[in-house]
């Protein structure tokens, strides 16, 4: 059984960007005040329902309205139109250590920050040891916070944050703090929250993190919901978008290169084909441990000198599991005048079960990417089904 805990109806938010702030400027510019205003719709007619116990990832390019949406759910800013309704206790982690006062000691700040996040004094006292223990800075707890290193600061802040007891937790880009062991501790804590049926709304630029934690992803673009569903599908939409942006950037870089005098060479990856032992095809099905040949056909309009070739194997979510290029392999490629074919041989490819795609790209000596063929070929790996993950191993188990 699940209940709707957050209900957004036709929510829109308009920001008016004024360019003057002081009284003098307003009076001087009064007649032309409309010239100094700019409308900007950060969110446009967003309708969402979020059920209790789900972990939702809000993703999108910069300026797509993710943080604005999160702040509105948190009640920090009000929508221009539409309604936002909630159930249950809410805690917002939009910034770690919001309200930490540099002149107070760690202990005093724990109480203040916990209170800001909605804990009562007696609750904080109950959690205090756990908070200090989680942060791992017992020795400095009675030192003024201004003497803390930035790592200690966020550790303490996060420790307080994970001990609040909300039904809904809003997180904005704050998970990537501290060193690796601490990050793992944070992620364990988040998983604990999920198991306890708390609703988590996470804004992140790390798509892998969203794919990892969330069971629902919402892609925002220019203030509107572009995709909404299981992370694999939604993130796919976003990655395609990013790919388009990337291609535009590549094109722009090429144009810029032409401008400064180095002629952009129109070379491209025409085709990627794969084979295990049979015939070459753009689509292969293989078992873990087989050898894989990757054949790449490069075509160019002008002679191609001083260049290198790269390949990458990506998961269906777009995460790279393997990549290499001839520069890393320290191989000098010959001059290509019109077209040429090259082959990478990857021995014993121990990929885990799943779908993968192969990208290939031509780079110029400067590192400038001349062309990339995205998802040039597909690999389907069929394994025993006894293991999970991207790496295939034959596990053995013994009772000792």
């Amino acid at each position: 059984m699940s209940t709707t805990v957050i209900c957004l109806e036709n929510v829109s938010k308009r920001f008016i960007i004024r360019k003057e702030k002081s009284l003098k400027e307003r009076i001087v510019n009064r007649g032309r005040s409309n010239l100094h205003k700019e409308d900007f719709w950060a969110l446009n007619d967003v309708t969402l329902d979020i059920a209790s116990g789900t972990s939702v990832g809000l993703v999108g390019p910069n300026g797509s309205g993710k943080s604005t949406l999160l702040k509105m759910i948190g009640g920090i800013i009000q929508p221009t139109s539409g309604s936002i309704r909630l159930r249950g206790r809410l805690a917002a982690l939009l910034e770690l250590g919001a309200g930490f006062h540099p002149d107070l000691t760690g202990r005093e700040n724990v109480f203040l920050n916990a209170s800001i996040l909605g804990l009562t004094r007696s609750q904080t006292e109950g959690y205090f040891d756990a908070i200090v223990d989680f942060s791992g800075i017992e020795r400095f707890i009675d030192t003024q916070v201004k003497f803390y290193s930035s790592g200690m600061y966020v550790r303490l802040a996060f420790a307080v944050a994970v001990h609040v007891n909300p039904d809904i937790l809003l997180i904005d880009e704050v998970l990537a703090v501290g060193d690796e062991p601490f990050q793992r501790k944070c992620m364990d804590r988040i998983r604990g929250f999920q198991k306890e049926g708390r609703t988590i709304i996470l804004v992140s630029h790390s798509l892998d993190q969203v794919a990892d934690i969330c069971d629902r992803a919402i892609v925002l673009e220019n203030g509107a919901v572009k995709a909404d569903g299981i992370p694999r599908v939604a993130l796919r939409v976003l990655r395609d978008d990013f790919e388009i942006t990337r291609l535009e950037d590549v094109e722009r870089a090429q144009i810029a290169a032409t401008m400064v005098g180095t002629t952009a060479i129109r070379a491209r990856v025409a085709e990627v084909t794969l084979a295990t032992d049979g015939a070459l095809a753009s689509h292969v099905t293989m078992r873990p441990g087989e050898d894989l040949k990757v054949r790449i056909r490069v075509e160019t309009e002008e002679p191609l000198d001083d260049w290198f070739l790269g390949i990458a194997i990506n998961t269906s979510l777009g995460q790279c599991v393997f990549a290499t290029n001839t520069k890393l392999m320290e191989i000098a490629l010959p001059r290509v005048t019109r077209a040429a074919e090259f082959q990478f041989r990857l021995p014993r490819v121990e990929l885990g079960e799943g779908d993968y795609s192969v990208d290939a790209a031509v780079f110029l000596a400067s590192g400038l990417e001349a062309h990339r063929l995205v998802e040039g070929a597909q690999i389907v790996v069929k394994a025993s089904g006894r293991t999970l993950g991207f790496l295939h191993l034959e596990p053995e188990f013994t009772l000792l």
Partner: protein
């Protein structure tokens, strides 16, 4: 789904949906604000403590500094205005008289000036966490009250040393004057704090206004001296200033030697009326504050 999750989901299903953020509207909004503030009373306490602790942290004399300022003011006015300009003639126990006025005035000035900049000063919090934003002006009010308390102790100590401990019926003036002062100052602090977010000039305007208004109340001179030059409607305007009334009320209470001095007609009635008006003003300003606070986060 684990059992814990099921229990949580079931409990949540019982709760009604509520709006995110503050509720507008007059009656229901007021109730909501009060409930919200009550729920955050512990935070308010912590913020007040933060204000007090952080202010003189790392200074050797610490809290003593908050006392040194009014004492210095007392000395300056006692010597310059009292002795050189001769204002102390006709005012018995001039030091106690001035200090009574200064204590009341300092409370007002501190609430208004620190309150005005309180939202802007806490921009980091306002932008990142939802809290009833009234806690910021109210926390500065709290720390001003703490300073007021210290000065009050000094004042009472001085009356004991002078052998003129406040007593009798005139003590009745104190609670009403205090409530009037507090309500009026807090109302202004709320209003100005909200307006200051949109127009930063306000905080400078407030500084100057406080400087002027200090002389518009009988702190370092007496009402008798005003009454000599201001008659009729001019006196009425002078007495319409809530701070004038509050300071006169404080002086009735603490300045025992002046028990027989000249006071305006119907001082007590005026105090009660001003007190009522200030309370209404406080409520109105809180509503305006709620109305404006929706845009705080984006304006800061």
């Amino acid at each position: 789904m684990s059992t814990e999750a099921l229990v949580r989901a079931r409990a949540l299903a019982e709760e009604p949906l509520r709006a995110a953020g503050p509720v507008m509207g007059f009656a229901s909004g007021t109730l909501n604000s009060l409930r919200d503030l009550w729920a955050h009373r512990e935070l308010l306490g912590l913020l007040v403590r933060r204000e007090i602790k952080a202010r003189y942290k790392d200074s050797v004399l610490g809290l003593f500094w908050s006392l040194l300022r009014p004492l210095t003011m007392l000395l300056i006015y006692y010597v310059a205005v009292g002795k050189f300009l001769g204002a102390s003639r006709g005012i018995d126990d001039f030091a106690i008289y001035i200090f009574t006025g200064l204590t009341a005035w300092n409370l007002f000035a501190e609430i208004v000036s620190t309150g005005t900049s309180s939202i802007v000063a806490n921009a980091g919090l306002v932008k990142k966490v939802y809290l009833p934003r009234e806690v910021f002006p109210l926390s500065t009010t709290g720390s001003a009250l703490f300073n007021f308390g210290i000065q009050l102790l000094v004042l009472i100590g001085a009356t004991i040393i002078a052998g003129k401990l406040p007593n009798g019926a005139n003590l009745m003036y104190l609670p009403v004057s205090f409530i009037l002062l507090l309500a009026f100052a807090t109302a202004l602090a709320l209003l100005l704090a909200a307006v200051n977010v949109f127009l930063r000039d306000v905080q400078y305007l407030v500084e100057i206004s406080l400087m002027v208004l200090f002389w518009a109340s009988p702190t370092v001179y007496s009402w008798a001296q005003v009454a000599k030059v201001a008659h009729g409607w001019l006196a009425e305007i002078y007495l319409a200033n809530p701070m004038t009334l509050a300071i006169l009320g404080f002086q009735r209470g603490f300045w025992v030697s002046g028990a027989n001095s000249v006071v305006p007609d119907h001082l007590e009635t005026r105090l009660w009326i001003a007190c009522g008006v200030s309370l209404v003003l406080l409520w109105l300003c809180q509503r305006i504050f709620t109305r404006l606070q929706g845009n705080f986060a984006q304006e800061l």
